[in-house]
Amino acid sequence: MTAIPALSPVRRRPLRWIQPFAVLVIAAVTIGIPLWLVAVTSVKPQAEAVKPNLALPHHVQAGANYQQTFDEGKIVQGFFNSLLVVAPSVVLVLLLGAAAAWVFARRKGRLVNAMYALSISGLLLPPAVITIVMELRQLGLAGTRPGMIGVYAGMYLSTSIFFMTGFIRALPEELEEAARMDGAGPTRIFWRIILPLLRPVIATATIMVMLFAWSDIFYSFFVLGGGAKATLPLNLYQVANAQLYLNNWHLIFAYVVMMSLPMILVFVLAQRRIVSGITSGAVK
């Protein structure tokens, strides 16, 4: 046994420099070049940026470009518009999903199984975006934030119920039983025991919903449209299509930088939890 681990470094030694070298080259070409293009174009004047290239800017006007995206692209408004639909959607998906998952994981019976199968059908089935518009109009929710929140919550509930039910099934029931014998009711048990235990999978679900909803444009197009409630991606689309032919690359990329920063910041701050959250949910 002791001899075997000693063997492997010997076998790997001639190739040792290849792996870091390959990683550096691949990262530079596939990630470095696109990000460099964004960064460098976002500080160029329009005349230089109209044909995007990797060259350094002759004239740096970062301040002017970013100022203009703030004014014309309505970054601050878009940020709050995004936040006001994504955050409630996430909370709704997590809370309602957890409560339902608790029932689906613990109770047995044909009806419960059927309900579970129905509620995770959204993992596969595509949302019927056209008739969503019709329904929201009839409910008086077309073009409103509650309508958008409902649509996002409906789309991602399946994911959260699926992950959380699997997670709760693997939890031992003793804690719940003990609390129950101490006289705690179901609501109290849910808040004090189930929700705290769900922390890892809540992290997973939050990240998944954030990743999709924060950058969604397709569904928000149909539900919110442009106008005063437009989210960040919708604003980016409007900035990009402000002229008939795409020629304001300097503004587009300044906008891309501003818009991506919140997500990247969240990732840097919570990297370890995000990574373990994503992977623990996927491969059981």
Binding site: V23, V103, L125, A128, E174, P186, I217, F218
Partner: protein
């Protein structure tokens, strides 16, 4: 099947239950109906039913009407919307293109993801840093990713100017203007955007590999190539299932990257379902867009279900 097994056990114990008082601490077997009240599931079912299931049910009604922006009354018109999209060739074309798109994305996303996972498998500080670097595209919105590659791949864009200076003469390949190859280019971009997520999931799969099995293979003299294909790859089955399924489903619902790079062109050769719906809805032909939405629904049901069942079965057979 595990469910029926536990169900049998609890039935057996509850049959003996009468001798014991209900709350004597027999763990988990003395379940009363009120322990997890069913109404806890109600809000989720209500939201899901109202905003997901009901629209999908309505999607079986509106395609058979003349719902449009041009008149306020809605009347039934039978199959005319379907005959329109069938006769103008858009249905067959969008089915073909969406399926090609989904398969190519599944291949690229998983190929890139698995490659990166194997490359960055060892848990060093260097590798951890670069895992984060390759995860960056996942964090950038898909629309932004589309614009980045549009700027890179435009005929007078960054890639051609780099290639021109390398080649010493003018290169002006229309990367996004070929009726044959642009679909491949767009799916490569889609694979690029999501490869970081696939990489993380493959890394988790590689990490959960039982060490003694690998040790045994090494003692038996299996090389790293052989070990990978005969042992590690089959053991990655759950990760492959998850990644292939999410790639297929995600790309059936793709919109942003295609809209930002080609908007369905050239000559509608990258027009996936959602691009069509967006365009036709914008023209005010709501029922016709809804008809295409129903086609997408049926295609997903017909194709995705067997794929998932098949992958699950293969996973169980390992």
């Amino acid at each position: 099947m595990a469910d029926t097994a536990t169900l049998g056990v609890s039935d057996a114990t509850s049959a003996k239950e009468p001798d014991r008082p209900g709350r004597d601490g027999r763990r988990g077997r003395s379940r009363r109906r009120a322990d997890q009240p069913w109404w806890f599931a109600l809000p989720a079912l209500a939201v899901f039913g109202l905003f997901f299931l009901l629209p999908n049910l309505l999607n079986f009604v509106y395609p058979f009407t003349d719902w449009s922006a041009f008149h306020s009354q809605i009347g039934f018109v039978g199959l005319s919307n379907f005959s329109t999209i069938l006769n103008d060739g858009s249905m067959a074309r969008d089915i073909r293109i969406t399926l090609e798109y989904a398969v190519l994305v599944a291949v690229f996303q998983n190929g890139f993801g698995l490659g990166l996972a194997l490359l960055l498998e060892r848990d060093t500080r260097f590798n951890r840093f670069f895992r984060a670097v390759f995860f960056l595209p996942v964090l950038i919105s898909a629309l932004a990713v589309g614009y980045i590659f549009r700027a890179l791949l435009a005929q007078d864009g960054a890639l051609n100017s780099v290639l021109s200076s390398l080649a010493g003469h003018q290169v002006d390949t229309p990367w996004l203007g070929s009726t044959t190859w642009t679909l491949v280019v767009v799916t490569l971009i889609h694979g690029w955007k999501w490869m970081g997520l696939a990489m993380l999931i493959y890394l988790a799969g590689l990490k959960s590999m039982p060490g003694d099995v690998l040790e045994a293979a090494r003692i038996d003299g299996a090389g790293s190539w052989r070990t990978f294909w005969s042992i590690r790859f089959p053991l990655l089955a759950p990760a492959v299932t998850f990644n292939v399924t999410t790639a297929l489903i995600g790309s059936m619902n793709t919109f942003d990257i295609v809209q930002a790079t080609t908007a369905g062109g050239p000559g509608s050769e990258t027009e996936v379902f959602n691009i069509y719906m967006f365009r036709v809805f914008g023209q005010g032909l709501y029922a016709q867009a809804s008809a295409m939405s129903l086609v997408l629904f049926l295609i997903v049901v017909v194709l995705a279900v067997p794929v998932i069942v098949g992958l699950r079965r293969r996973e169980n057979n390992q």
